[in-house]
């Protein structure tokens, strides 16, 4: 069975290459995790520009692979299998990673696995906290995703319970940051400002929490608009904007809805473990509130360290290792990336 697995990630603005070792007991060990980010090139546009990201992936791909092997002290010929993000993500960005992965697999004569980026965000937690329980719940929150997933088998069986009907949580952070005159990406500066603010200062709305709303879906568009309205009316009154309080109250609304729905889903599905992953998982209020509410509900909370939560190659290598261990079929070299790959398809 393949032992050293390389993971390649290029679905958004990070070119990631990870190397892991699959042990006999099916545990997975992280050997290298190299990322080249084009985030700075997108900052002035206030969001990821697909063509800019694609160009950066092509430029960074081989150097990032080289760095990962240097870090791990391995040679390319040591790799036994390759996993690559097949989707979901930006079409042009995915294509660069998929083309590179196919070429490496062909040249090295080793199997290739096209895997699901969302499942990778969950699988990455096994690098830090060991194997997942039989069944668990995953909350993915980032600039691109907001999803509640039921995970019966990380290599093959994932069900979506709910997702955002409009903006991803991270997108709402970017937009609110803009309203408050904070830099892009909005997550870290809002988190920082919120630490000095009062989360109860302003009662921003909790989207999709009415009795007739879908139980596990999210909406952040209304919240974002409510923040903008609040700021604009304060500006009209000639008041100084209490940036810290607005940030804290916005962040409280996001964390409240996310954790409330996650706990509700865990209870309803009889699951006692919650994994929170994705770029927004590093948010201090979200992890704090999740820890509090999970403790109350008797749920084990697993949050990978921040570096593993954001997009990287290690998550794809980790998922690849689980797919290999489960003896799932490998991909054919003519597969195409799927920008809308549904989460149920863990590997193609």
């Amino acid at each position: 069975m393949p032992r050293i697995i390389m993971g390649i990630e290029s679905s958004c603005d990070e070119t990631g290459v990870g190397l892991v070792r699959l042990h006999d007991d099916d545990t997975v060990e992280l050997l290298a995790d190299e990322v080249a980010s084009s985030v700075d090139q997108h900052a002035r546009f206030g969001g990821v520009v697909p063509e800019v990201a694609s160009r950066a992936h092509l430029e960074a791909m081989v150097p990032t692979v080289e760095r990962a092997f240097d870090k791990a002290g391995l040679k390319l010929s040591d790799v036994d299998a390759i996993a690559v993000t097949a989707g979901p993500g930006l079409a042009g960005a995915l294509l660069v990673g998929v083309a590179a992965a196919k070429a490496y697999a062909a040249a090295l004569g080793i199997p290739l696995y096209g895997v699901n980026h969302l499942a990778g965000h969950i699988a990455v937690d096994t690098l830090q906290h060991g194997p997942l329980p039989e069944r668990c719940l995953a909350l993915l929150v980032s600039g691109g995703h907001t999803q509640l997933l039921l995970v019966d088998d990380i290599a093959s069986e994932i069900t979506e319970l709910g997702s955002t009907v409009d903006d991803a949580a991270g997108e709402a952070y970017d937009k609110v940051a803009r309203v408050l005159g904070l830099p892009y990406p909005g997550g870290p500066p809002i988190d920082k400002a919120a630490k000095n603010g009062d989360g109860a200062a302003i009662a921003f709305p909790r989207g999709m929490t009415g009795p007739r709303d879908a139980k596990f879906d999210f909406s952040f568009s209304g919240l974002k608009t409510a923040v903008a309205r609040w700021v604009e009316s304060a500006e009209r009154r000639g008041e100084d904007i209490p940036v810290d309080d607005v940030a804290a109250s916005f962040q409280e609304a996001v964390a409240d809805v996310l954790t409330m729905k996650a706990i509700r889903a865990a209870k309803e599905h009889g699951v006692d473990t919650l994994v929170i992953s994705g770029g927004v998982a590093a948010n201090s209020r979200l992890s704090e509130l999740a820890a509090e509410r999970c403790a109350e509900a008797g749920i084990t909370l697993r949050v990978p360290r921040p570096r593993l939560c954001t997009d990287n190659g290690a998550m794809i290598a980790a998922l690849g290792a689980h797919v290999v261990a489960a003896r799932r079929p490998q991909a054919s070299l003519d597969f195409s990336a799927n920008p809308a790959l549904p989460v149920q398809i863990v590997s193609i």
């Binding site: 002035r44 390319l76 660069v96």
Partner: protein, 219 residues
């Protein structure tokens, strides 16, 4: 010397094996599919089929030549990411070559200057001009066919066929870069340290910086 040539700068997904013996070039088998949306799917399988048809393996290659455009970006990157990764994994050099030069290298020797034009989409063409001896004299550029100022009357490349009337040119063969053409255009660099594989985009990414924040409240 055995060279794998790759080009995805046009609707043709092209991979082929070329053997060099001194000045002699010999095609050892091509795999070409004309499908503007299949570059990412087909380029690696085509490369594998081409080496298999030649009775060798990727490990027998001495170098790779890759067309670096200009061409529609997404398809172009599929071939370039493939070439760069193959070269890295095999430990062999990858030589970049302007894809228009590769088409020009296949134009039958004549007595007149000629153009090479390929489809840049958005009603524009990528183009370059060549002297009768095949040396590039202008370009590569991207322009609307109507804005192209030239007195040259013959043109190769699929852009010449698409816009023959608008340009008033007589289309000549070939339409797409061939493995032999790619190797011919790149061979002067063989033995040297290859230049970086950098795409000839010729256009900036479409992206506009956001204007001042729009108010959500009116009044």
């Amino acid at each position: 010397m055995l060279v794998l040539a790759i080009d995805t700068s046009t609707p043709a997904v092209t991979a082929g094996l070329v053997a060099l013996d001194g000045d002699a070039l010999e095609s050892r088998g091509d795999r070409v599919t004309v499908d503007p949306r299949a570059h990412g799917e087909l380029i690696t399988p085509h490369a594998l089929e081409a080496v298999k048809a030649a009775g060798v393996t990727l490990r027998d290659l001495d170098a790779i030549v890759c067309g670096v455009g200009p061409g529609p970006f997404t398809g172009l990157r599929a071939g370039m990411a493939t070439a760069a990764s193959l070269a890295h994994a095999l430990g062999i050099p990858a030589y970049p070559v302007c894809s228009l030069d590769a088409i020009a290298a296949d134009v039958a020797p004549g007595e007149a200057p000629f153009l090479v034009l390929t489809d840049a989409r958005r009603r524009e063409v990528y183009w370059a001009a060549y002297a009768a001896d095949g040396a590039r004299t202008d370009g590569p550029n991207v322009e609307r066919p109507g804005d192209l100022k030239t007195t040259i009357k013959v043109a190769a490349g699929d852009g010449a066929l698409l816009y023959a009337d608008a340009l008033g040119v007589q289309p000549i063969e070939p339409r797409f870069p061939s493995p032999i053409g790619l190797v011919k255009a790149a061979r002067k660099d063989f033995g040297e340290e290859p230049a970086p594989l950098t795409p000839l985009y010729l256009r900036r990414p479409d992206a506009v910086e956001p204007a001042a924040r729009k108010k959500v409240t009116t009044s």
